[in-house]
């Protein structure tokens, strides 16, 4: 049996849990359907609500895009651990001889994949609706870095919020202040990808990268204590 000290192999555990969650989501479309609709609605509503002139679109539109991504992401995060608790499947995971970090990593990867799907559907609609010209390479890089940071924090906070009674309120209240740096950096870097001249891209991309590394590492290390509480 390929295990050290009775513990199940780490990456096998992560693979198994990601497979389980994606298969379950594919069949239920519980999170993805709502997330896509929410992100698209945000883009459409703001498109009517805000008058974007040609010269200001690339400065303002990224903020609208990330509002849509952030709220769609929060829908996904909110369901992830809450559903596990309601069904008792989280107890099943806690009983198993698996590293708690693997549970975090698997859930964060699943959330990131779901958020990426929402973003891949939303981005072409965004470019068309807001009439902006996108440097797709930079835009996708920025979106990927922003998604990793936002998802890593969101998954951790969702686990904390799932332990509370007012979890629907606690998630945004805890998550949005924590992810202010990643959201600001994502908006600024997205503006550069859309052709804004007034912003310097490198510092924002560096900030995103640093946030991602710190948040993933910290969340991975503290997750065991959050689950135990």
């Amino acid at each position: 049996m390929s295990r050290a000290n009775g513990r199940s192999p780490f990456f096998r555990t992560v693979n198994t849990l990601v497979w389980r969650d994606l298969l379950s989501e594919y069949r239920s479309r519980e999170i993805l359907g709502g997330g896509i609709v929410f992100a698209l609605l945000t883009l459409v509503v703001f498109n009517f609500a805000i008058d974007l002139r040609l010269e200001s679109a690339e400065e303002v539109a990224p903020g609208i895009l990330w509002i849509g991504f952030a709220f769609a992401g929060m829908l996904a995060f909110g369901r992830s651990f809450a559903a596990e608790r309601e069904r008792g499947t989280l107890d099943g995971l806690l009983l198993a001889p698996i590293d708690r970090g693997a549970i975090y990593l698997a859930r964060a990867i699943t959330n990131a994949i779901l958020m990426c799907i929402v973003e891949l559907v939303s981005l072409p609609v965004f470019v068309a609706l807001y009439n902006v010209r996108a440097a797709w390479g930079e835009l996708l890089l920025t979106t990927a870095l922003g998604t990793i940071g936002f998802t890593s924090a969101g998954t951790l906070v969702a686990a904390i919020a799932a332990n509370t009674r007012a979890r629907e309120i606690m998630l945004p209240v805890l998550l949005l202040p924590l992810t202010v740096p990643v959201l600001i950096a994502s908006v600024k870097a997205t503006a550069v990808a859309l052709g804004a001249q007034s912003v310097e891209p490198l510092p924002w991309l560096q900030l995103l990268l640093a946030f991602d590394v710190i948040m993933v590492a910290t969340s991975f290390l503290v997750f065991e204590y959050i689950l135990d509480e």
């Binding site: 049996m1 009775g6 198994t16 239920s28 008792g88 499947t89 099943g92 009983l95 198993a96």
Partner: protein
């Protein structure tokens, strides 16, 4: 003479919020013993089982499973335990086979497909192996939960009213899963069904208000005597039985 202890609980106290649920529980269970926890609602049976499973951290006291605490060797403790609680712990959108395969992989079992098929056969689920768990009745979910709990062949089986919803055949499968009396598998179960307790358990521990108030051997009691002892233990305040042995029966 005491045999090898699979469960040792010393001075276990647990409060949920500001409500004490377990108050200084001591308990010892030998290998191969089937022990039933009996008591009224709110007596602390489920909390004690969850504490044994490592799902609730003790406020005070210590829980040892197979000689280890969750702190000293969490992997050994978790690998030793199979737990069926009030919830099936199964994914509703996965099939029975997929659910078992997930757990087999999480436990790092070799030849996990074989173990999954064996689990399905053991609880008569082969015909519904590819149906989603969300389509299962309460009894079938319970059977699948039992198959899940036994997948890794645990030394200690913890059952919280696991017999609820099972039909007669499934009831027999459950008793068969206990293994031979005195064998390698130890069972601690909580139940309100005294007939099931009498059939399945060697020892009965009566809990009341978070305290162990009595421990008897089922073989020493007839069905009526067990019922009377149950009523008696529940009616008597715990303080009236301070000298009662609550560890192993003599």
């Amino acid at each position: 003479m005491r045999g090898e202890l699979v469960v040792e609980v010393r001075g276990l106290s647990i409060a949920l919020g500001d409500q004490p649920v377990l108050r200084g529980v001591d308990l010892a269970v030998e290998r191969g013993t089937r022990l039933a926890l009996v008591g009224p609602n709110g007596a602390g049976k489920s909390t004690l089982l969850r504490a044994l499973a490592g799902l609730i951290r003790p406020g005070a006291g210590e829980v040892l499973v197979a000689g280890c605490t969750l702190k000293s060797d969490p992997w050994h403790v978790r690998r030793s335990i199979g737990f069926v609680g009030h919830q099936a712990m199964l994914h509703p959108d996965l099939t029975a086979r997929e659910n078992l395969a997930v757990f087999a992989r999480l436990y790092g079992l070799d030849r996990f497909e074989e173990r999954v098929e064996q689990g399905l056969r053991q609880f008569g689920l082969v015909g519904r192996a590819d149906s989603r768990a969300s389509t299962f009745s309460r009894g079938m979910l319970q059977r699948l939960a039992l198959a899940r709990a036994l997948l890794h062949d645990p030394a200690l089986l913890l059952l919280d009213e696991a017999e609820t919803g099972l039909d007669l055949r499934a009831h027999e499968w459950l008793l068969a899963a206990f293994g031979e009396r005195g064998g390698p598998r130890t069972v601690v179960l909580a139940s309100h069904d005294l007939a099931f307790v009498r059939e399945g358990a060697d020892d009965v521990v009566f809990l009341r208000s978070g305290r162990v108030v009595d421990r008897v051997r089922t073989a020493d009691l007839g069905p009526d005597a067990l019922r009377e002892r149950y009523a008696d233990a529940l009616a008597t305040p715990p303080a009236a039985r301070p000298g009662r042995a609550v560890g192993l029966a003599d």
